[in-house]
């Protein structure tokens, strides 16, 4: 469940000379998604990944509110209140789409039928623990949606996030301090500064963007070469 595929990425750099924008990062993730995979893209930044999937990728997008083969965002006259993604944004359907109800949709997720899901996160721990639903602030209105189901469901769970908070705290941490979404569920973490494998054997740097692996390991307090 937590072991991401290790197949080589055709033409992928093992490093970039600058910190990636979220759009560039979305392109990196898109390239890592196997052709023909069934994929759920979490709300927020991961949604961008869809824009970078090649037209012939054959990737089929799942939205947990009950659809496979979801198309791009709907614009203008194509907006249909009965057709939205999990973020409640109007979307379109592609040929070969299928609709199903919520129990079937989550059976798909929980049953391990999705190949990849990409989620945003507040924190990811070196062992793959995920925190992405609650900041722990006592006055916050809590909301979980499908995050916990996605976290434990997909064959490969990737996280896409900036590596540091605005105040410079790492979000890839030895142990999550925010309330957990799932235990040991994340396999790979894509960030603006680099890509990491996480899991039972700890964290490992796969590639870095605009920073040396040694310096990056240092800032995160992880062993190098990881």
């Amino acid at each position: 469940m937590t072991s991401p595929s290790d197949r080589p990425r055709a033409g992928a750099p093992t490093a970039a000379d600058h910190r990636l924008s979220m759009d560039e990062l979305a392109a990196v993730i898109a390239r890592d998604i196997p052709s023909g995979a069934f994929v759920n893209l979490g709300i927020g930044q991961p949604t961008k990944i869809a824009d970078h999937l090649p037209a012939d990728s054959g990737v089929v997008l799942h939205t947990e509110n009950g659809m496979l083969n979801m198309g791009p965002r709907a614009e203008g006259d194509d907006v249909d209140p009965d057709l939205t993604n999990a973020g409640k944004v109007p979307v379109t359907e592609l040929p070969g789409a299928a609709y199903f109800h919520q129990a079937d949709s989550f059976a798909m997720m929980r049953g391990g039928h999705l190949d990849v899901c990409v989620l945003g996160a507040y924190q990811v721990a070196f062992d793959g623990d995920l925190a992405n639903w609650h900041t722990g602030r006592p006055d916050a209105v809590p909301a979980v949606g499908g995050a916990m189901d996605l976290a434990i469901g997909a064959k490969d769970v990737y996280v896409m996030m900036p590596l540091f908070t605005r105040s410079g705290e790492p979000k890839l941490v030895p142990r999550c301090t925010y309330p957990l979404t799932g235990v040991g569920c994340v396999g790979r973490v894509y960030t603006d500064h680099g890509v990491f494998d996480v899991g039972p054997e700890g964290v490992r740097i796969r590639e870095t963007y605009g920073i040396g692996a040694g310096e990056l390991a240092d800032r995160l307090g992880i062993a190098f070469p990881g």
Binding site: L83, K88, V141
Partner: protein
């Protein structure tokens, strides 16, 4: 006896809901929300309701209006906090409404269990998280699971696309969402539809909710609603 009734008004459709009832309300945000039935429920006046729904209302319409009217004691949902959930947020912060947060898939599966006569089930979702508190945990085949119990409604209020006069239902696109599951999980299932057709007017292969799960059907009023970009 159990055959569905086609009623002439939303008010007739929600007649009999008692104070303290548990009401399952369909919809994912505004898609699939049974506006006419909720408005009729507000007129009907039942109080102290427990509402089971994916969200806790958007803007000032539908479920949010029911909350604003002070009829709801407790909400079971997966995602109350949205950019336009100010009604719920206010009530919650003032301590005037109770919230039970349920992961979205558990919400669906627990209602399915109620409809399917399953006593309880072991589910991997939420293990090791704060939402596991108080739940029985069990390891099966090397994986950790939590014991989850059915959620049964006294009433389900849902929106579908077409019904035949027997009560068979089809839905439209992602507005299907919780409707088919809720229809199975309530003692009395009430449906608003865009169109009612004669038996034979729906393809038997494409019926999503068979008539056995439907008690009352009413034609919805035409309505324009804005799609929200807020989860």
């Amino acid at each position: 006896m159990s055959r569905a009734e086609i009623v002439q008004s939303a008010d007739a459709a929600v007649a009999g809901v008692e104070d303290g009832s548990t009401v399952l309300v369909g919809g994912f945000g505004l898609a699939g929300m049974p506006f006419d039935l909720i408005e009729a429920l507000i007129r009907q006046g039942a109080r102290d309701l427990t509402i089971v729904s994916n969200n806790a209302g958007n803007g000032d319409v539908g479920l949010a209006a029911l909350l604003a009217a002070g009829r709801v004691r407790k909400v079971l949902c997966s995602f109350p906090r949205q950019s336009d959930s100010w009604v719920f947020d206010g009530l919650y912060r003032e301590g005037r409404i109770e919230l039970e947060l349920v992961p979205q898939g558990n919400l669906a599966e627990r209602m399915r269990a109620a409809g399917a006569g399953i006593g309880a089930f072991y589910c991997p979702t939420g293990v090791g998280t704060p939402l596991a508190e108080g739940k029985e945990e069990r390891e099966i085949g090397g994986r950790r699971y939590l014991l989850e119990y059915p959620i049964k409604g006294d009433y389900a209020l849902i929106a579908a696309h077409r019904a035949d006069t027997l009560g068979n239902l089809t839905y439209r696109k992602t507005a299907r969402n919780f409707g088919p599951v809720m229809a199975t999980a309530a003692t009395t299932t009430v449906v608003q539809v865009d169109e009612v057709v004669e038996p034979g007017g729906l393809d038997p292969e494409a019926v999503v909710t068979p008539s056995i799960h439907v008690d009352r059907v009413v034609r919805a009023q035409a309505r324009r609603y804005t799609v929200q970009g807020a989860r």
